[in-house]
């Protein structure tokens, strides 16, 4: 690891001015991703600005809105009684990721900004367009079993590994980004950018901008929400694929609203907007879900080793939506 300078930020303004206009510097929150990448030589900051003591660990539920501070830990968000009651999809997504001790250190912002687990990105001896722009991507012809099938580009097929981001995506969350110029609010869906020919640019976050909080509105009355994750082992593993969903049925049992997001398949949480629009107003059935999801996945561009993800994500989503669309009295909760 390269030697680096370190500074503990005493205020938000302090933190921003210590990073902005200083190339090669980075914010340090829980450090569970950044320190790992520094050990691997993937991240080589000249200086770290420790934001972990800033007053950004708030978690409030007021006027129909939930606001989560950038530094609220994954563990406290998952354990929050209101999140567990009103947004179980979010608690479940966090609890399905990492380990108990990692979730205690990991912050909300750090989770959303964690880097891909693509092995080429993590191995500095290999080319990688995301890590070393223009160096090439060995994944298409090499190991791509865990990589993306939707929204990928010829330059990069890496996936965003955050579970929490997938759940926040179906909650229609926004993120607040603060710079010296002021604060802007961006939809989480627009926060992650398509890789195109510049996969090193993953989000709209500018250097020096600080993610201060995440916010989302209450779900409609009667909404049910869940997260389901497929892993190579039962616990403590990143998603092969995952599904977050919100379902609201009308008085006649038809789908009033449905939101579906996928993890492990794309460089961002993948909202299945086409399927959502197609399902609205229809009477739920496994056959309908399956048909509609198949149409959404027509745009998938899988490679030989990850072709299985197409059927896997379709089948797991069909099962999850079928569970959620059961009338409440006989709903059987399965995981």
């Amino acid at each position: 690891m390269k030697p680096f300078a370190y500074q503990r930020a005493d205020s938000i303004d302090d933190a921003i001015s210590a990073i902005a206009n200083h190339p090669g510097t980075a914010y340090l929150a829980g450090g569970t991703n950044l320190v790992d990448l520094m050990k691997l030589g993937v991240s080589r900051p000249r200086a770290l600005v420790d934001i972990s003591h800033l007053p950004l660990d708030h978690l409030t539920h007021r006027d129909g809105h939930t606001v989560i501070g950038a530094l609220a830990t994954n563990a406290t968000v998952a354990a929050d009684p209101v999140i567990r009651t009103d947004f179980p999809v979010l608690s479940e997504s966090i609890l399905a990721g990492a380990s108990g001790q990692l979730r205690n250190s990991a912050s909300t912002a750090g989770n959303l900004l964690q880097k891909t687990r693509c092995t080429y990105f993590q191995d500095v001896s290999k080319p990688c367009n995301k890590r070393a722009p223009g160096s090439g991507c060995p994944a298409r012809t090499g190991a791509h079993r865990d990589l993306g099938i939707l929204g990928v580009s010829t330059s990069c097929i890496a996936t965003q590994p955050s579970d929490m981001a997938v759940a926040l995506s179906v909650l229609d969350a926004t993120v607040s980004l603060r710079s010296a110029a002021g604060e802007r609010t961006v939809k989480l869906q627009d926060f992650y950018v398509a890789p195109g020919t510049t996969p090193h640019r993953e989000t709209v976050l500018e250097h020096g901008e600080l993610l201060t909080q995440v916010a989302f509105p209450a779900l409609p009355a009667g909404a049910t929400s869940r997260y389901r994750k497929v892993r190579d082992r039962w616990s403590y593993a990143f998603a092969v694929i995952s599904v977050a969903a919100v379902v609201v049925l009308d008085a006649h049992g038809r789908i009033e609203q449905v939101r579906i997001a996928w993890g492990g398949v794309a460089p961002r949480p993948w909202r299945a907007y086409l399927a959502e629009a197609e399902l609205r107003g229809r009477r739920p059935s496994p056959e309908l879900f399956e048909r509609t999801l198949r149409a959404e996945l027509r745009h998938a561009t899988p490679l030989p080793q990850n072709e299985f993800k197409v059927d896997l994500v379709k089948d797991v989503t069909t099962a999850l939506l079928t569970d959620l669309a059961h009338p409440a009295e006989d709903r059987k909760v399965t995981r």
């Binding site: 030697p3 320190v35 972990s52 354990a79 179980p88």
Partner: protein
Amino acid sequence: MKTDHTSEVTLRINGTEEKVLVDHRVTLLDLLRDRLGLTGTKKGCDHGQCGACTVLLNGRRANSCLKLAVAAEGATVVTIEGVADLTEGDGLHPLQEAFVANDAMQCGYCTPGQICSALGALAEADAGWPSHVTPDVTAGVKSASELGAEEIRERMSGNLCRCGAYHGIVAAITQVASGSNR
């Protein structure tokens, strides 16, 4: 003296205040083992993947291999060397006793991390935190005393044991979770 690449940090480790000058690259794990001689805490993977380095940081379990020592300024740390002092009396902590009684180790390399992690996990359950296998996340759990083997396995999944002593580990933690001697 502080330079661009070093800082002085003060931590409270197992009840003793320690003031040390650290290179910013030094993790809490390396500080404990190499500078302070507290070699009970183990390095397995050094990347957050095995749990051997688990300590209690400000009362919660954390991977010391991913925590920069400089970022732990002001923190209170309990390592395996300080676990026995968390309870009254001169002997071992009840959880340590239970590990011995249940044959919860073979080579013992993962044991300090397992014990610190289990202490954290029991406190989390006592606070009502659900886990991935809790049937209803909304309800959570009432306390650690209601945790069955499946819950303990899930909550301890961040701690790997190369010897595969999991059976004894789960038995030891279950014994302490269900007892009142914590």
